[in-house]
Each structure stands twice: as C-alpha cells, then as structure tokens.
Amino acid sequence: MTDHRSRLHINLAILAVGLAAFALVPSFANSGLIFLAGMVAINVVFALSWNLLFSGIGLLSFGHAMFFAGGAYTVAMLSLKLPGMPFLLALLCGAAIGGLLALIFGFVALRRASGIYFAILTLAFAELIHIVITRTSFLGRNDGLVGIRRPTIDLGLFSINLAGGNRYYYFIIILMALIALALWCLQNSAAGRLMQAIRQEPMRAAFLGIDTQRWRLAAFVVSGCVAGLCGAALAPWAGIVSPELAHWSVSTQPVLYALLGGTGVFWGPAVGAILFGAVSYLTRGIHGVADLTVGMLLLAVVLAIPGGVLGLISRFAGGRGAGAAPGRALPFTRKVEKAS
C-alpha cells in the first residue's frame, strides 16, 4: 500500500499537469476557447464539490445549482453595489452564501429525508431559489445582473488588475487548482475517511459513536461553500449572472460530469467536465444535434463503462479493485493511486 505522502505527490503531479494544460490554452486558442476553458475549470471544481457529497459521504444532491447561483449572485451584487469591496472578500462572501444556503436547506432536508427523498428535496429547494431570483427586482428578475467587472486584487504593497488580457483566466485556474487540492486533502484526511465510513456503513458508523447527521450536514455545507465559490468566480468571468444559473439543468451538470468521468475516482468528475466541455465544443457546429450527441455519449458511457472513463482506465491498468461497480463508487483514494 502506498503511503499518504506518495499519494499526495502523485495527485500533486496530476494537478500540476492539469494546471499546466489549462495554462497553455491562451497560447494557441482564441478568446472564445479561453472563455470556455475558464468555464470548464470552474465546472471541474463544481463537479468535485458535488462528488464530495456523492462519493464522499453518500448524499445525492439534485440541487447543487442553488449554491452555485448563490455564490454568483453574491459576487455580482457586491461588485455592482459595493465596488470598493476587496474582491477576495467578495469571493469569500460568495462561498459563505453557498455554505449558508446548504446549512439552511441541509438542516431541514437531512432531518426529514434520506436517499432519493433527500435528492428530490434538494431539487425542490433549488427550484425555489430559481423562482425567488426570477421574482426579485434587486436581483434583476429574469434578465439577471449585467456589467460585472473583472476585479483588481489589492494586496497592500501591490495590486493585481485582473481586467486586462487573460489575467482573470489565470486567476481562475490557479484558484480552482487550489480548491481541488484542498478537496483532495479533505477527502484523504481522517475526516474524509470518517465520511467514507458513513457512506459505506452508516449504521455501523453510528454505533461507533459518530454523529452521522452532523457529519452529513458538515459535508453538505463544505460542498455548498465550494459550489458557491465556483459561482462567485464565474460572475466576473461571464460578466452577467442570470436565473439560468439556478436552473435544474445546471444542477444536472455535475452529475453528468461525474458519471462521465467516474464517481469512484477523485479526478473522475474533473475528467468528465473536461470531456464534456470538449465534446460540446467540437459538436457546436452540428446545430440541433449537439445535445443529442452529448446525451448519446453519456448513455453509451453509463451503459458500457459504468465506472466512467477513469473507471475504464483503472480496469485496463488492472490494479486491485479496478473498475467501479455499476451504481457503486469505490474508495477514491485507492483508485487514484492505481490510475496514476
């Protein structure tokens, strides 16, 4: 068995390769592709935040868009109403709003439901947020909020203007890489192993004295914070926030990314998000059938390789426990070790 330090090194290497690949995009791509790459980087972490719940502690969320939209609208509002506020503080506020929404809804939903009932409740809550946004004047109703500028980060001795060139893009990919690393560390810590225990054997974990409900709520809040932070980073990137961010279709995205990449491997949702972005981009010229292509691809992956793309690679690699079983995510810490 590889020790924690080795696994950390391997995953740092994976992260560095991914970061380098994203960093190279501006050297050959036009601004549309750079914008898409930025969106993909955000989606990578958005999907990882969802998988923290699904593979991390065994909660299925169909309402992750509410945290994403919460973070995005927070930064948009702060940017428009309090333009003097330090951007990093605004980002933290976005994450905090995502976490607060998760705390409120998690507190209610986790007490009352579990399994698919919990998933349906999250979907309902997210739709509630969507409707509230479309009916709230100061949130711009259906038109959303426009004119969110890319910020300047004031670090006391010097400031970094992220408005020009591709600087905000680099900021996004570095920020997302740091969050992904933090998520990996969390999931490979004692707390992460405890969450795994709750996912695999909740009753046994409870018998061992673990307050499973509290841990589930904590994971839900952490996941909400990360999703909120992703939304917060998106707002200045897109320049507009609109109610579509809270739409159920956005909630399905991390689920699709995770299915495509593989839920049983830590980097599975990240790979899914990148593949999804690439397929969407490459099929953009096939008007009207782009969604169909993506849907067919997804169906093929789910039916033919239930463990996702990384699950398939793990199976080919032939290591222990390779190939996540259909509908069951295997412990990701081991999987990463074999995949790499």
Partner: protein
C-alpha cells in the same frame, strides 16, 4: 483480457495528440481578406429554436441578396452560425469565439439575457452586435452599450403602435384586462401597454380607460384552466396578452372551449405573429397581432418580396415570420454601414451605424445615434378563421403605424419612464 503495454500507451497518446493538434492551426485564424465574415449567434436548439430558425434563414437570404448585388464594398458576405440556446453563457462563448475568428460584426441574439450580456462582452472584445428581436427595453435604456444595436422595434414602439391603432379603430372599448406571462418580458410589455393606454386613450377619446389588474400566468405552464376561469370573470371588453410561443398556443387552445373569445370584443396579441394561427388553423380566435414584418403589407418592396419568395422556396412554409426580416435587416444595416465607413473595423462600423438610414423589408429604417435604437414602422395584422384558406386562417386586415410617432425619447443609461395604474 487486453494487455496494455507501454507501446500501446505511446501509440494512443501520439494518436490523441495528433488528433488534437490537427485543428490547432485553424483555431487562431487570420481574418479572411477576400470575404467578410458575419457571425450569427442565435438559438438553433432548445425551446427558442423555432425563432432562431427564422433568424438563420433570414440572415442567409439577406447575405445571398447582398452577395448577388455586389457584396459589401465588393467583398462577399460569409455567415458563421453558432447556437446560443438562448443562454447568456453559451452566447458569450460563441460571440467571443467568432470575434477571435475575425467575425467582429455579429447579429442574431433574441434572448434578452443574452442580448444584455453582449454589451460589456462586445466592448471588451471589440465587436458589435445587432439583435434580431430581443425584447428587453434595457438595451437602449439603463444597460445601453455603444456596441449593441437594435434595428427592429422595441416593446415601447410595438405596444404604443398597437394601442394607437386599436383605440382609433375601437374607441368604444375602454375596459381592458391582461393575461401576462409571469416573466420579465411579460411584465415589461404589460407596463408599456398600460402606459400606452393611459397616454393614448385620453388623447383620442377625451376619457380615461378602465384597466384591470392583469392575470399573471406561469411561464412554461402546461395548464392554464384556472387562469382562464379567472379571466372569464373579468368585466372587460378587451384583452391584451403577451403570452408567447408554445405557451400561447396552449393558452388559446384551452381558452376556446370556455367561450372566452366569444365573451370579449377585442383580443390584442403583442407578438405571436402566425405562431398561434399556424398551430390552431381554423380554430384560431379572431385577434390582432403585432409583427416585425408582414409580407403583404410590404408587397412591392423588392427586399420584402425577395425575402418572402426565397423563404417559401427554401422552406416550403408560406407563413414566414418577422424575425427573418430582422436578421435580413441586420445584414443590410451592416452593408450600408461598412460601405459608408469604408471599413469593417468595429469602431468605424459603430460610428457609421449611428444615424444610419438604410432600406429594409419594412421600408426605410433610421438608427438613432443616441441609443442605437432603430425607428421603423410598427406592423399589425388581424387574423381570423377562414373556410377558404388552405391553412384554415387568413389575414383580413393589416396596418402600418409610423414608428417615429410611437417611439419613446432616447434616454441611454436611464430606465424607461412609464405611467402606471
């Protein structure tokens, strides 16, 4: 069991790398000098695809017409289409990519949120966009951007035109109600309708109109029966509705068995053109509908005739709708602007578009320099069932209202000021 060797991996990586590298030289392409590429970003899939298809065909017909007549400044027009799915993020990716490919002149946006996203984006990317039916009034008011133009009518013009005609024709109808989608577009159109009624009705009749609170119906609902029952109890002679697309078809179909359309004297539909009539055939209720362009009104105008004939030839559909004319008008506006400026560079085209007068399928249009809003005629048609018509319906009356008489004053950067109940 497959044996994965290092050779396999190397071969796979090489093939993958080769595959990825292949399109790279084309990703950052230099601008084509021999032709002028115009980007068209519009919904080509999803719920708004129906309207996006009108934009697509209209743009193609407009480009072909221009190319047959010498191109733009001698350069042939080439269109590059992208699907925005009426989503601001997809529209942003597409618009940025097209600017990167050299298509700094763009058109086609019909979603209000996507159109609003275009302002800051185009300013930062150095492009210009002409919308093709985006309804929000904010484009030329509080969210005005010098890089966004609307060569069609806006909600203020449309509704003031409709109300002026209806009041002139039916001054005895003073009580009005509304069935409005609970959506930004619905609320805006109702607010403008109320403003128009409160302004025009007293001016033409010397009396005050009686306007009831509107019935707000859910956006995208499949069942309107509760709201129809509520509307049946409204003591009004006229109904205004801005429910549109598939929702309007459902609403009209469900309202008919209630006898709703027999109860009221006038039904005023802000924007469905032939959408409802084509779906309902001879079951369509008599109603006035606002149009971006109606071909019979503009018969004899070579641009209108070309658009109609080409549209029917290409699609087999005898009822083209106004979004096609908006896309054609955008192409014609770019032709006039580029030739006036002698350049297709963004700043020069923006400068030339401001104050530009150009021909279109609905006649002369003038783009106001202050807020980039075109002054054009407002068109409306009276549609009713017809036993003779193959389609089951016919247009039995149509009018044009002078756009200059119903347009609001330009106030870029300021919200639209309206009278309210």
């Amino acid at each position: 069991m497959t044996n994965l060797t290092r050779r396999h991996v190397l071969a796979g990586v090489t093939a993958l790398g080769g595959g990825l590298m292949l399109p790279l030289p084309y990703i950052k392409r230099a601008k084509a000098q021999e032709s002028l590429t115009i980007g068209v970003v519009t919904p080509l899939s999803g719920p708004q695809q129906l309207i996006g298809n009108f934009v697509k065909v209209g743009a193609e017909i407009g480009a072909d017409y221009v190319n047959k007549n010498g191109g733009i400044g001698g350069r042939q027009v080439k269109l590059e289409f992208r699907d925005d799915r009426a989503n601001p993020n997809d529209a942003s990716v597409a618009a940025r990519e097209l600017v990167g490919l050299g298509a700094n002149l763009q058109l086609g946006t019909i979603s209000s949120a996507a159109a609003l996203a275009m302002g800051p984006l185009m300013q930062s990317e150095g492009g210009v966009v002409i919308t093709s039916g985006a309804g929000t009034e904010k484009i030329n008011h509080e969210n005005y951007s010098p890089n966004v133009f609307r060569v069609g009518d806006n909600p203020y013009m449309r509704n003031h035109g409709l109300v002026r005609h209806i009041v002139e024709k039916n001054p005895e109808i003073s009580s009005w109600g509304g069935i409005i989608p609970d959506h930004e577009y619905g609320r805006t159109t109702w607010a403008v309708f109320v403003d128009a009624m409160l302004t025009i009705y007293p001016e033409l009749t010397g009396k005050q109109p009686d306007i009831k609170q509107p019935i707000l119906v859910p956006y995208g609902a499949g069942d309107y029966k509760t709201f129809i029952a509520q509307a049946m109890r409204l003591p009004v002679d006229g109904i205004y509705t801005s429910v549109y697309g598939g929702d309007a078809v459902t609403l009209y179909q469900q309202a008919k068995p209630y006898g709703f359309f027999d109860k009221i004297k006038v039904l005023l539909d802000s924007a469905n053109e032939f959408l409802v009539a084509k779906a309902m055939g001879n079951q369509v209720p008599k109603h006035w509908s606002g149009f971006h362009w109606y071909y019979e009104t503009n018969k004899g105008n070579p641009l209108s005739d070309d658009l109609y004939n080409e549209y029917v030839k290409r699609t087999g559909d005898k009822y083209p709708m106004g979004w096609a004319a908006e896309a054609q008008a955008a192409i014609l506006a770019y032709k006039a602007a580029v030739e006036k400026a002698g350049s297709s560079e963004t700043d020069a085209v923006i400068e030339a578009l401001k104050g530009l007068t150009f021909d279109s399928a609905t006649g002369k249009r003038i783009i106001r320099p202050e807020d980039n809003q075109a002054i054009k005629n407002v068109e409306l048609c009276f549609i009713e069932p017809s036993a003779e018509a193959e389609s089951g319906f016919a247009v039995t009356d149509y009018v044009q209202v002078d756009g200059a008489k119903v347009i609001e004053p330009p106030t870029p950067g300021e919200p639209l000021q309206l009278k309210a109940l």
